[in-house]
Each structure stands twice: as structure tokens, then as C-alpha cells.
Symmetry: C2
């Protein structure tokens, strides 16, 4: 038997074979569990493998099988509050299938992004997931010559036959608005973020749609677009309070705005939810729980989005075909800021 050139750092199948006194291929078959063989041989091999702490080298396996059981996740924007639950849930689904995840971050740097993609391809990943903090469209990624599945999560490709998974922003806004309507509220305002965000436009559309269906008027002075901040929430709430006829409910584009609005009202002596009910968006626990009263909010179910992304990728990797934009439902988490039915 020849000696290996490199010092090896872990036991190979050859060592197991030697210890068990069988051939390499027998070891392979024994451990893979397949094929027919004498049980005692199998046991002997298993025992040898165990005492050596043998783990097959997946690099070698991958090389042979032409699949690495590995995927890459590429964040266009830095990994943030929204990406985390998604990534975490996806990781769980894929890890259960023995698939490893390469994490790449290319914060708004196309050059870095290219490098990362190139690395991922060199590492022969079986799939790529693209995420962004903001759910706006971005150019599809370039897979120079290779044909592996790519999906966009919380992010959308300009290339329409790719699969995108997103939260249903419009639906979430409908949920929030209908909730307020069902409580008997009639003048519902909407304070939201910058109109540059597709999410802002979609949520606004949902809000409008719900009001229309309920045949409610939508006075333009009740719609306020600004920044994604508490400061803007306070400012906008003040504007609403200064109106000749203030609203009796506010649907906010995110939880920070909602918190600002609630703070403003409490300080102005306006009771939430009695005088004005408030619903936020994101269901960001630390924010929602810190509001006084605790904030009713729309949850985008990011974990579910992540799990779904994991499943979709698995399907694509095993040859399935999926494409188009899928929007997953949000849900309403009721706390105290939307309060009981108004009399």
C-alpha cells in the first residue's frame, strides 16, 4: 500500500477498510446502507468506522456526485432585522436535508457581488438565494454560463421568470384596515414611509382598497408619507391631531412610526385606543411590546417566508420548475392599541 503524500487530518475510507480487513468498496457499500451483504461484514465495517470516528469527506463525495449539497445566500443589502428570521428559518429547513449554507454579504457593492457569485460557482453550490432588506426590484444575478436554481426572497428580480417570494404587503394593509373598520372606526388615517419603497405603495393600495370596499371616504389629508422613523410618526400624528376633524384610527406603515404616533398622542392627552386606535406594521417585538398601550401590528411571517423559500429551493434543486412572484400572507397580531369595539 502506498503512503499518501500529504499528511491527512482525518481518517479516510482506506483506514476503515484496513482496520476492518475488507476492501474500500465494501466499506462504501456497508456504510451507505445499500446493496446486499453479509450482516456481520456490515457490522464489522461499522464498528471500524466508529472507532476511527470516520466521516466521509463530502468534498470527495460532491466531486463524484456532481452536487455539493451546499447553497449560497447572497444579501444585496446588509443582513438586517428582516433578513434574520428569513435566513434562520431557511437554514433550518435546509440543514434538515443536510444542506450547508454559504453566507455572502455584498452591501450595495456590485463588484463584491460579482466576486461572491464567482466564488459560489467555484464552490459548485447547488442553488443561490438572493435577499435584500428592501423588497424592491433588482437586476437578476449573472450566472456566467452555469445553470443552477436561483430564487429571490424578500427581494424581486427584474427577470420575471425567476421565482420571487415576498410578503403580501397589500394584503397586510387590507388586514389592518379591515380590523380597524370592524372596530367601528370610520376616519382611518395612514402614516407611512417614503413613497420610493414599493412596500409603501402596496400598503397604501391595500388601505385604499379596504376603504373602498367598505364605501368609506378617503380624505387626502389623512394620508401622510414621510420617513421610517419615530420622529416622523410623532410629527405626522401631531398634524392629524391638529386637523379640524381628526381621525379615529391610524394605520401606520411600520412599528416605529406607530410608536412615535402613540407617544405623541399620549403626551397630547389623547387616549389610545379609546379616542384613536393604532395599528402598526412589522410586528417588531421590542417595539410593539414597548408601546403604551402595546401595539397591534401586522406580522409579515418572515419565518414562514424563509421556510417556504427553503422548500422552494429544494424543489428546484431536484429538478422542479417554479417561477413568478409569490406573495405570502401576513397576519394580524392584536394587542391593546387597537382596543375594543368603539361604541
Amino acid at each position: 500500500m502506498k503512503m499518501p503524500r500529504h499528511r491527512r487530518h482525518s481518517n479516510t475510507i482506506r483506514d476503515v477498510a484496513a482496520l476492518a480487513g475488507v476492501s474500500i468498496s465494501t466499506v462504501s457499500k456497508a456504510l451507505s446502507g445499500g446493496g446486499r451483504m453479509r450482516p456481520e461484514t456490515r457490522d464489522k465495517v461499522r464498528e471500524a468506522a466508529n472507532t476511527l470516528g470516520f466521516r466521509p469527506n463530502s468534498l470527495a463525495q460532491s466531486l463524484h456526485q456532481n452536487r455539493s449539497r451546499t447553497i449560497g445566500i447572497l444579501s444585496t443589502d446588509r443582513f438586517g432585522r428582516f433578513s434574520f428570521p428569513i435566513v434562520e428559518a431557511m437554514e433550518e429547513v435546509l440543514a434538515n436535508e443536510g444542506i450547508g449554507i454559504f453566507m455572502c454579504n455584498a452591501t450595495d457593492d456590485p463588484e463584491r457581488e460579482k466576486q461572491h457569485i464567482s466564488q459560489l460557482l467555484a464552490k459548485r453550490v447547488d442553488g443561490i438565494v438572493v435577499t435584500a432588506r428592501r423588497a424592491d426590484r433588482r437586476p437578476g444575478i449573472e450566472l456566467i454560463g452555469r445553470d443552477i436554481p436561483v430564487i429571490y426572497v424578500f427581494s424581486q428580480s427584474e427577470n420575471n421568470n425567476a421565482l420571487s417570494l415576498l410578503p403580501d404587503d397589500e394584503g397586510g394593509a387590507v388586514l389592518a384596515t379591515e380590523h380597524l373598520l370592524s372596530l367601528g372606526r370610520r376616519r382611518i388615517a395612514h402614516i407611512t414611509g417614503p413613497e420610493g419603497f414599493e412596500a409603501v405603495r402596496l400598503r397604501h393600495r391595500g388601505y385604499v382598497r379596504a376603504l373602498q370596499q367598505a364605501r368609506m371616504p378617503q380624505p387626502p389629508e389623512l394620508y401622510l408619507s414621510g420617513a421610517w422613523s419615530e420622529t416622523w410618526g410623532r410629527e405626522a400624528a401631531q398634524k392629524l391631531l391638529d386637523l379640524a376633524e381628526p381621525p379615529d384610527a391610524i394605520f401606520c406603515g411600520n412599528d416605529q412610526i406607530a410608536r412615535g404616533a402613540i407617544d405623541c398622542m399620549r403626551e397630547a392627552g389623547v387616549s389610545v385606543p379609546h379616542d384613536i386606535a393604532v395599528v402598526g406594521y412589522d410586528n417588531w417585538e421590542v417595539m410593539a411590546e414597548a408601546c403604551r398601550p402595546r401595539l397591534t401590528s401586522i406580522d409579515m411571517n418572515l419565518m414562514e417566508l424563509g421556510r417556504e423559500a427553503g422548500r422552494a429551493l429544494l424543489q428546484l434543486m431536484s429538478g422542479g420548475k417554479l417561477s413568478g412572484v409569490r406573495r405570502l400572507p401576513c397576519s394580524l397580531v392584536i394587542r391593546h392599541s387597537s382596543g375594543p369595539v368603539k361604541h
Copy 2:
């Protein structure tokens, strides 16, 4: 020339060789840039490689070189607010060296953790980083028979000859307290989280040390330990206000507590920073900026911690030896809640 058995998904060195009309080994040498060869041959090869979009298969390279240029990062607790900047910075450092990062999450599930480690070993990672949300001690991980570098970041192994990288909590607390002292504050309170956390104990120690050095008394009623929440911050601040002799400054164990305290005081008509100055901990932007007045806070420099972790791992991977607990300095970010010098 024999045909490959499997359908290949990307071009191999063999294809490049065929196109360039040279041997495989020539291609290898030409692309690696080493060795002596006729420049025109090298160019010919490069061109062929380019037109085919050839990327060497790193699985094969790794197999040969016995190193995968890949590491694993294992989060004991879920990836959260603290892990993110660390991971992001580390990723940047390592990605620049062409090293890929496998992300594994094993939220407080030892079984999952074992599986992940086993997978990482099978993937022949060149190193492992262990992180946790809380900087408390944990058992070292088991590398059944393999000898690869492991470091603990924002987390500490019970095994003392491993390397741990942590923020200097005690130093951060000293920084905060001395800042308040330098502003002329004399009765400095400390509201903090549960004493179960090592960070709480260390920050308390730093606070005490700074007071002792300044020969300030430390009345026990000025130390309040509770939850990591705004609610606790408000509650504790109220207790302090109710004291016969309230403090003229509060050092808070995190920014949420600080925010609660500030809110409480504003509502009680106590001026921050005029009557009572406040310093927080974590420098969590969204929190610190949303406080009124904006919150002075201690920054743990998590990005720097992550970069340092990346560098340390690179050293270990190239044979260096590092061990023990290293604590990296925090810094003070001054905003308005600590205000100007008191007269």
C-alpha cells in the same frame, strides 16, 4: 478522449485544454500564474479559459490541497442583533481572503449542534467560530478526533486554552461612569439587567471601580437590577425619583432600560440631562436616536470584534497559536442625554 459519465454542468480544465490545444497540466500552470512558460502559450490558454467562462472547481482543488478555504460559524443562540454586526464584519475579512462561511444555527439545542459540527467536519472546514447572543460561558465544542482551530466570539468556552473574543464590559462601564463624573455628576445610579448575566456583573464592577477611584460613595439604593426592558427602566427610574435624595445621573445596563428611564423622567417633569444625565449601553442606533433627548451610549464595537475574530482565525488557520480570553475596548458615543457639564 473518453466521454465523462455524468453530464457536467460547467466547463472543466479538460475543455479549456482541448480548446487551447494544449495539455491539461499546461492549462493548470498557465492559469495559476506560476512556472516558466512561453507567454503566447499562457495567453492562448487564458483566452480559451475566458471564452469558456472557466472557473476551477474548488471542490477538486480542496480535495487535492487538503484544505477547503471554508469555515463554519455556529451560533448557539439564534443569530440576533448582536451577532449580526459581528458576523458581517467577520464575513468581510474572510471573504477578502477567498474563504467561504457556512452558517449554522443551533438555538440551544445540543443535538442540533452536534449534527452541525458533524456536517462541518464532513465538509472539511478549516476552522469554526462559535457565537452566542449572551457572553456567558459554555462547554467547548467536541471535534471528535479532528484538530482544527476553534474560536469563541461574544461567547466564552469553559475550556481555557481556547481563544475567546469579547467586548470589555468592565471597561465600558468605567468609560460611562467616568464620563458622568467628568460632567460633575456626584450621585450616579446604575439600573441594569438580570444578575445572571456575566455582562451585568462585569458592568457593575466597572461602575463600582470608577466610583471608588473617584472616591465617590456608592449608596446601595442607587443600584437596581431587573429585566432588560423599557418597562423595567421606567419602573426603576421611578424608584430613584421617589428617593429622598435622587441621583443626578444614571448609567443604564442597556439602551432599552435607558429609554424607559428617560421616558419616565420626561413624564415626571424631570429634565434630562439638566437634572439627571443618562448613559446607556449597546449604542443600538434605532433606540439611541429615538430617545428624547438622543441617548449617549457605550458602543461595544461589534464590527471591530468581528474583524478581529476574522483575523485571529486566519492566523490560527495558518498555523499560529492563540489562546485565552481577549476583551476588546468599548467606546463612548456622546449624544444629548448626558448633556453639558453641570454647574
